[in-house]
Symmetry: D2
Amino acid sequence: MIKVGVLGAKGKMGSQTCLAVEDADGLELVARLDQGDDLAELTKAGAQVVVDFTRPEVVMGNLEWCIGHGVDAVVGTTGFDDERLATLRDQLGAQPASGVLIAANFSIGAVLMMRFAAQAAKYYESVEIIELHHPDKVDAPSGTARRTAELIAAARREAGAAPVPDATTTALDGARGAEVDGIRVHGVRLRGLVAHQEVLFGDAGETLTIRHDSMHRESFMAGVLLGVRRIVDTPGLTVGLEHFLDLD
Amino acid sequence: MIKVGVLGAKGKMGSQTCLAVEDADGLELVARLDQGDDLAELTKAGAQVVVDFTRPEVVMGNLEWCIGHGVDAVVGTTGFDDERLATLRDQLGAQPASGVLIAANFSIGAVLMMRFAAQAAKYYESVEIIELHHPDKVDAPSGTARRTAELIAAARREAGAAPVPDATTTALDGARGAEVDGIRVHGVRLRGLVAHQEVLFGDAGETLTIRHDSMHRESFMAGVLLGVRRIVDTPGLTVGLEHFLDLD
Amino acid sequence: MIKVGVLGAKGKMGSQTCLAVEDADGLELVARLDQGDDLAELTKAGAQVVVDFTRPEVVMGNLEWCIGHGVDAVVGTTGFDDERLATLRDQLGAQPASGVLIAANFSIGAVLMMRFAAQAAKYYESVEIIELHHPDKVDAPSGTARRTAELIAAARREAGAAPVPDATTTALDGARGAEVDGIRVHGVRLRGLVAHQEVLFGDAGETLTIRHDSMHRESFMAGVLLGVRRIVDTPGLTVGLEHFLDLD
Amino acid sequence: MIKVGVLGAKGKMGSQTCLAVEDADGLELVARLDQGDDLAELTKAGAQVVVDFTRPEVVMGNLEWCIGHGVDAVVGTTGFDDERLATLRDQLGAQPASGVLIAANFSIGAVLMMRFAAQAAKYYESVEIIELHHPDKVDAPSGTARRTAELIAAARREAGAAPVPDATTTALDGARGAEVDGIRVHGVRLRGLVAHQEVLFGDAGETLTIRHDSMHRESFMAGVLLGVRRIVDTPGLTVGLEHFLDLD
């Protein structure tokens, strides 16, 4: 039985995580902390792993405390840049038994989609990305779409692929989407949608499409639980849930 | 048996039309003309209807001849503006038994898609269009996508619909597509595709998608044959194949 | 302001209806009744229209009361056969100002899908239906899929269409789906889905696909509200929400 | 420059292969043989690799000759069972420099789809397969769909996954598709389609879809050419094009 504490337990992701941990085989929810609570309650409750869905302003302090107290951490809070990652590596270097997972996306489906897209990239002349979200989203394209484009572009570069063909000479502004690292990305906003993405590959006479549809934030919980179960045996810093998927 | 002549019989669409007329019940192919041939051969062969897939420079001369000789016409040649249509109406006014169909798109499926999109438009808060074509296409978005957007926009205006919601504040150039009459249109270019379009409607908790896939130019032949069969009983000028579909 | 009462107000659809009426312009929620409550509260509260999401055992009594007291009704309760409809017609015949709408499906999107499918049916050689639902659904295919198949089959019969082509000679049991009125219907059950349907039409070189995705029961509310607004001006019995859509 | 001969050069796949080899960088078409031609022409022409798209009755003789004469082979002819594969292994054992690739499917896209499906299988509670083909196909489900189902079933078994959930208690015959190794497979037949397949994975709140569309047999040529380029450096028997894809 792995004993789990949740930081940011009253937030949307945190409360969903509490429910998921309570339901999960082999895990026990021992602490729910939110703003103003004392981190010492984690050790009192015997937490071995912490799931952190808090805020960029407080997450580094939380992690320093966890690493210092031998509590592993699974982190969905955003705002990690190279400097922050370097700081964590330093702190973990001094505590070789501790582990921290930083994940921008806990959706196993999204991680699989990105992985498959990167693998398929070198076999197709053409590729474009369509991401589709609810109309209250403020940025376009989505972070997942940008990341997917970068992974595809890197795979094509490594394989020495020519640029994606496009004979367009006359176009309305924006008709061909945005360009991310040479890959065209289109952002659709539609009431009724949540978070969806399609990666389209094409070559002579055929196309391959990988589509991920995320309808509810409970879809992230399988990834969070996977992180919890794996981080207890994975010392050091892990960046990205994909390292915990077994895809030979 | 309706006797049919084809103008531009050696071109891609013209030669496909010849095959289709030969295979069709109730139609007889009596003349295949191309550049340099004498239109008088149409009357010699007894053609009642002409299908014209020629070029903008010659089509007006062809039609003047047809109207003057009592031959009905089904026209897929492009380049008709208001002035040309007015000229045809004048000529047809002097020959009340003659009929001419001008159609920008002979795909019955594309016509149905546009019709359904216009009908659905007033029932949904959100709508966007994705058109997908082979990468050798030079313009974006496609003419069909623009026309679909205009029909949807007109239906929304008539119903007094509010603008399509979009909270985007930070976007890469082009990420949200082109805007046609207030409707977002995205153009995808992919090797392996031919001509495809998706119209996406969304409202609270649901979406409705209408998609047309055109894989081969033979898909236009059902529309050409429908035009031939109906124009012989439809005097005057008809603009758009949709007038020949029975959609009560 | 139309005054609305809800019967079955504590049920899933009923409680959703209460929320929707409260939010709607021009409607006022004046009564929420459930099992054991006295229908007389409807007249006390001045209800002009009742929305009934109760059970087959009680709905006929509810409607007799409503018709007798001059309250119009929008009914989503199931279990209406020809006999029940005939009874309602008799009762309404004696109260010519009263109106009742019986609707099996309040999703405007599903109604549009069925309507478009029926309209497209005669233009395509092939057609099949795929319905996709969550894996807790006990029946297959869905009622909407059956109804869509019947509408398509009727349209094909009226147009004198040949049977849908199918050269299959060797098949595993069930591989070609179920047959409803000569139309093949496939039922997919998948965790993560709610209620979805795709109608696929095909002919030489092209396909037309109409897809409806229903992700949440709030998607039925636009149809319920449309029913409420229209039933006050529509005396007599109306069966099917499609009669309240303006699709010229 | 690799010198290539084609057996079955007048057939649909063989003639397409001839065109593809002629267009390919680094390959030279040196012999086109069909029924009645003498295999000795292959050695006369200096062929290093043979592509065989012939018939089950003659392919074993062709391969015995090739192995005996030091010509590598890429084989798309069907009808290989365990006995035939054992025979080839014996013959190749005596000629350790020779290589033979037997591939049931030369579509790189289909191979990627199967691979990705097998990788994703253990992460999802639900999975179903929809294959869609032209209505002249005589068997259902397709061989690719069966193979995909077997790969998914094997991956789920290895991961100790529970059976796919399905609460269906009332169903029309065939409504839930065919069962292949515990996986539901649905076969759609539609005019206008060629060869298409969708693998749908679902779990709480999300779905992942992998779709392959094959519109033309030229889509198999990239796989044939890959086979030719790799077999010259791959002695022994290789079964399945997937072994020549680099998917780390």
